[in-house]
Amino acid sequence: MVERLAYAFLFTIFLILVPLIGVGILNLQKVFSIFVPYLAFLIFLFGLVYRVLSWATSPQPFKIPLVAGQQRSLKWIKSSYIESPYTKTGVFLRMLLEIIFFRSLLREEKVETHPKKWLLFTSKKALWLGSIIFHYSLLVIALRHLKLFFEPVPSFVSLLHRADSLFEIFLPTVYITDILALLALLFLFFRRILVRQVMYVSYATDYFALLLIISVILSGALVRYFFRVDLFDVKRFTLGLVSFRPYVPEVVGSAFYVHLFLVSFLFAYFPFSKLIHAGGIFLSPTRNLENTSREKRYINPWNYPVKVRSYEEWEDEFREMMREAGIPVEKEEKES
């Protein structure tokens, strides 16, 4: 584990050093403010499209929903509209619950063995809570950044800023979501070290993904809280990027470049790492299919003929003994 952690830390530090050296020593402002973000975004876009297409174009041969509630069968038995969906709406709601509410994670219960009682089940909501807080904070943080890409700023974005900055007492504002996201990330990180089952299945890249996002948020905070970059200059830069008239910011410091580089890396890394789960969940065949397998025929596009044993062949082998035993056979009927 130490080894895996070390690799994850080293690689994160390496990523932080790259822009520090690139900008601070080699003066490659242009490369890091224009070339890198564009490239990263392109990789993100093509990577994402490629991955999603690779799933979407491969066929799902069978209808294999994981049924978690009463099927629809007899009229007087109450069927489970969402857990065993039999309509498109039911499937849609099931997916919605999974995606918005992390429904399956909510089922989490820990199992332990016990010498007298044999098994102990404890309902655990920590992973669910941590994931919910993390994902939703990240969403708000991302939406907040829209401020940098629109002029005038859309009203819902300003509203978000105001709602998110309850701690007005601090100057500059401390955002609640920054703090929540960091706490949740730390929880997920330490969970991966301390819960042995999870630790056992974690790779260096699992730790790295968490460290990367932690660094993104921390560097973002640094930019705002400590180095107090010129927001107007930053906005001029971001607007330049989206309008394809790139502008190299003048006065921002190295913290800004670190943040920008880490975000760029995150984008480029996304499609080729486990982070892609965000896109995959929509296609999960155990969740997005109806439990109506006997009601509507489902087509497998590659359903090829196989070698079977036909009734004739079978009867040929057993006809004699069947006749003797007085069991009706096909051939005899025809003869007579």
Partner: protein
């Protein structure tokens, strides 16, 4: 009560890199290789005599190529496979959900790790990050040891799908196990307990290799037994053309115990309602061990059901109590061997109920059928005749998580017996624990693994036994009926196993029957006085 049975003590894996740990074929934990004769009969690839514990598996020269090619082709054919290879985040939510992990404490039985065995190879050969970062991103080379590990752990998964329930992305390790077994088959690595029944079923029509005359003879025994119990001589139609309904059950029902009593229950029920139906000696098996082997074998074995329905010119098909049989019928049959446009949409001839949910497949589950009969008051039932039993219900994984048959069997049970109690909520319905012997693992040589895998189920039964005095576990799966008695005897004792229709048969009041003093097992209807006070 055998309290001292060693309960698995520790579910926390030790810190070591699982990738380096070689698998050890310890006697009692793995199944034997398939006999040559049956491999040949089914035209399986690379047939040879072979055993898992042999150092040398006599693999074909180019085995790596075969596996990687096979993987490529499966990735192209199954979105489920591709997706499940890509999106696991190793959150660990599924880790302690597998009965094999709980029972053995072996970390490679955590569903996530079972899947990683295959995923690590996928990463190494099919993804960019795996090619660049190698081990750091969980990629590893395909080696002889990896292959052995696959065999060991893909044949230590009962394809029960419990893990998938808890996974935030619905990753179904059953699906991955199925792919793993497809790949192993490409190298001729198959187990006896799957291939032999499959080959029998292909040749004779059923797993046990029962030829038609023996089938008829057995039914004769059943008729005699029923006559002795009830004084009524019933008729068992076999291969009767033009019957309205074809009835297909797992062959264990007519050749194994306690399945046998379920068979008696079916026969009595069909007689009592005057059902126009027939058995078939060709489609004399509802179960399908192909499901535990490969798509192709599953389809080959399944084909006979529709073929026979067509030949006998029935209107629709009724299916007996079986777990994996129903996964195949519900989720695969119509897609593989349909459309069944030569049959009619099933309607109960007794109640007129249309089974809308089976409109296309045209096959109805007997629990649906019987529940409907009871609901419409078509049966006279005397619950007291089951008073000997304090009953609980084991949801078979397949009819639970792949079909959603939760209420029908419960409705029947509550109508045929007075004492019915549920096991703890985390062990039933969609959360049900497997018996530990599904997916072709019901062999003798791996008994230790089965007993450990069944441990969570045994726990749940012990719970209701102590709390409510439960002495009977009802279930609707042929494999359960064979494996639960052994399991429960080992862990607790004093609990028996039956099918739903055995209890139906006990309670069923038949027209013109003599006074019943014995249940279908030939035991007195009531508990002996000294047994009563539990």
């Amino acid at each position: 009560m055998k309290e001292e049975k060693s309960v698995p003590s520790d579910l926390s894996p030790k810190d070591e890199n699982w990738m380096d740990k070689k698998v050890e074929f310890k006697k009692g934990t793995y199944c034997y290789g398939a006999p040559l004769k049956h491999q040949k009969y089914l035209d399986l690839p690379h047939p040879r005599e072979w055993q898992p514990h042999n150092e040398d598996w006599n693999l074909p020269e180019n085995w790596k190529e075969i596996i990687l090619e096979g993987m490529k082709s499966l990735l192209e054919k199954y979105r489920s496979f591709k997706l499940f290879m890509d999106i696991c985040v190793r959150c660990g939510a599924c880790a302690d959900k597998c009965h094999f992990f709980i029972g053995t404490g072996d970390p490679k039985n955590m569903p996530v790790l079972r899947a990683e065995l295959l995923r690590s190879v996928y990463r190494r050969y099919f993804t960019l990050s795996g090619k660049i970062f190698g081990r750091l991103s969980g990629a590893r080379d395909l080696t002889y040891d990896v292959l052995k590990e696959w065999f060991y752990y893909f044949y230590q998964c009962t394809e029960c799908r419990r893990c998938s329930l808890y996974c935030p992305y619905g990753i179904d390790t059953c699906e991955i196990t199925m792919m793993g077994r497809e790949l192993l088959n490409l190298l001729g690595l198959n187990i006896q307990w799957v291939v032999e029944p499959a080959s029998n079923s292909f040749r004779t029509g059923n797993h046990l290799g029962v030829p038609p005359p023996a089938f008829k003879e057995t039914m004769g025994f059943a008729v005699d037994e029923i006559e002795e119990l009830t004084g009524i001589k019933i008729d068992v139609p076999i291969n009767r053309k033009g019957a309205e309904i074809l009835f297909v059950a797992p062959s264990a029902d007519y050749f194994a115990s306690p399945h046998w009593y379920t068979l008696l229950g079916y026969l009595m029920l069909f007689h009592e309602i005057g059902l126009d139906y027939t058995w078939s000696t060709f489609a004399s098996e509802g179960g399908n061990f192909g499901l535990f082997h490969s798509y192709e074998l599953m389809k080959r074995l399944n084909a006979k059901i529709y073929e026979e329905a067509k030949r006998l010119k029935v209107k629709w098909i009724l299916g007996g109590e079986c777990g994996h049989m129903w996964r195949v019928i519900h989720q695969y049959m119509d897609t593989m061997n349909g459309p069944a446009d030569f049959l009619e949409e099933p309607i109960s001839p007794i109640t007129g109920t249309k089974f809308e949910n089976a409109k296309s497949t045209k096959m109805v589950h007997i629990a649906e059928f019987t529940a409907d009969l009871i609901y419409h008051n078509k049966l006279v039932l005397d619950k007291k005749r089951n008073d000997k039993w304090i009953v609980t219900f084991h949801d078979s994984c397949n009819t639970a998580r792949s079909v959603g048959l939760f209420e029908e069997p419960r409705y029947i049970l509550k109508n045929v017996c007075n004492y019915f109690y549920e096991m703890p909520e985390n062990t039933i319905r969609e959360k049900t624990f497997c018996c530990g012997s599904g997916a072709g693992l019901g062999a003798d040589e791996n008994l230790e693994a089965r007993l450990k895998g069944g441990f969570p189920r045994a726990y749940a039964v012990r719970y209701v036994k102590e709390k409510f005095g439960v002495n009977m576990v009802a279930c609707m799966c042929a494999i359960d009926k064979a494996s639960l008695p052994i399991l429960l005897d080992y862990w607790l004792g004093g609990v028996e196993v039956c099918g739903i229709h055995e209890l139906v048969g006990n309670a069923l009041v038949m027209k013109g029957e003599k006074e019943r003093t014995k249940n279908l097992r030939g035991e007195p209807l009531q508990r002996e006085e000294n047994e009563k006070g539990l």
